[in-house]
């Protein structure tokens, strides 16, 4: 992966459901809009270009580009988003989100990795902050700032 890229965030959690179920939830547009945007329009197949829609406080929809990169059920689903409308999604103009699923006793281990913040973190943060007051932004540089927090806490 892009381990050298600044601003990679990664999360892992255990879900008590079969990998096939988890794969559907992270990849299908009808499920995606239950856990993230207000609407999602794309085909969950590699190369499919679409959009995800966020409803702003004025009730208008604003769309972000969304392109499926990999879809290997029930193991990997990845996509790029936030690339400028009309541009092909690629490294440097978009954020890459990868879901990796691993079967575990009693369920599935789900690992989420998001990279590309060096270029896109600020734009993404603005988008999120504008349309989701309760989910404002990303923790791009949080890992880098952790030592600062420790420094400050010592002095407070």
């Amino acid at each position: 992966m892009h381990s050298k890229e600044l601003g990679t965030i990664q999360r892992e959690l255990l879900i008590e459901a079969a990998p096939e179920v988890v794969f559907d939830v992270v990849s299908k547009p009808e499920h995606l809009k239950e856990w993230w945007p207000d609407d999602a329009r794309y085909e969950p197949t590699p190369g499919s270009a679409g959009e995800i829609i966020f409803i702003n406080p004025e009730g208008e929809g604003d769309s972000a580009s969304f392109t499926v990169v990999e879809a290997i059920p029930p193991r990997v689903f990845s996509f790029r988003w936030t690339h400028p409308a009309g541009e092909t999604a690629a490294e440097g103009n978009s954020l890459l989100v990868t879901f990796e699923l691993m079967p575990r006793e009693g369920g599935t281990s789900l690992r989420m990795t998001e990279t590309g913040f060096r270029e896109m973190g600020w734009e993404a943060a603005v988008l999120e902050e504008q349309y989701r007051e309760h989910m404002k932004g990303w923790d791009y540089f949080l890992p880098r700032l952790a030592p600062y927090i420790a420094t400050l806490e010592k002095r407070l």
Partner: protein
């Protein structure tokens, strides 16, 4: 009720995020914290950018209050403003839950589907 739905501090906070969103400026903050301060010259010696570029970045950080300076000889000596840095850190800390919240929703949806399927095994078997 504000028709904009955003607070008066938004402009300042936008600038703060933008200032800290640049990797060179974050490295400058790192160096200033580690060394307790520095000038454009001393910082430039430790980074693969020109002294002029460093001075420009310091200007951006100064503008949003992340660093402040005192004149020392021919140069300005900069140090990190800890109150403003704490403000930035608290903003960043508050957004750390974004993916956590999404993933918790993914977990809840998947587990609900799984439970629903387990409660209706006969329906699935009838597909044969």
């Amino acid at each position: 009720m504000s028709s904009q739905g955003r607070g008066p501090s938004t402009q300042i906070d936008d600038a703060l995020w933008s200032a800290i969103g640049d990797p060179t400026r974050r490295r400058l903050l790192d160096l200033l914290l580690v060394e307790g301060g520095g000038t454009a010259t001393s910082l430039g010696e430790q980074l693969p950018v020109t002294r002029q570029a460093v001075a420009k970045h310091l200007g951006v950080l100064d503008h949003v209050g992340l660093v402040s300076s005192v004149t020392s000889g021919r140069e300005k000596r900069y140090h990190v403003d800890e109150a403003q840095l704490a403000h930035a850190v608290s903003q960043l800390a508050s957004v750390g839950s974004t993916w956590n919240a999404r993933l918790q929703r993914i977990k809840r949806i998947a587990e609900t589907i799984q439970h629903t399927r387990q409660e209706q095994p006969r329906q699935e078997e009838q597909h044969d």
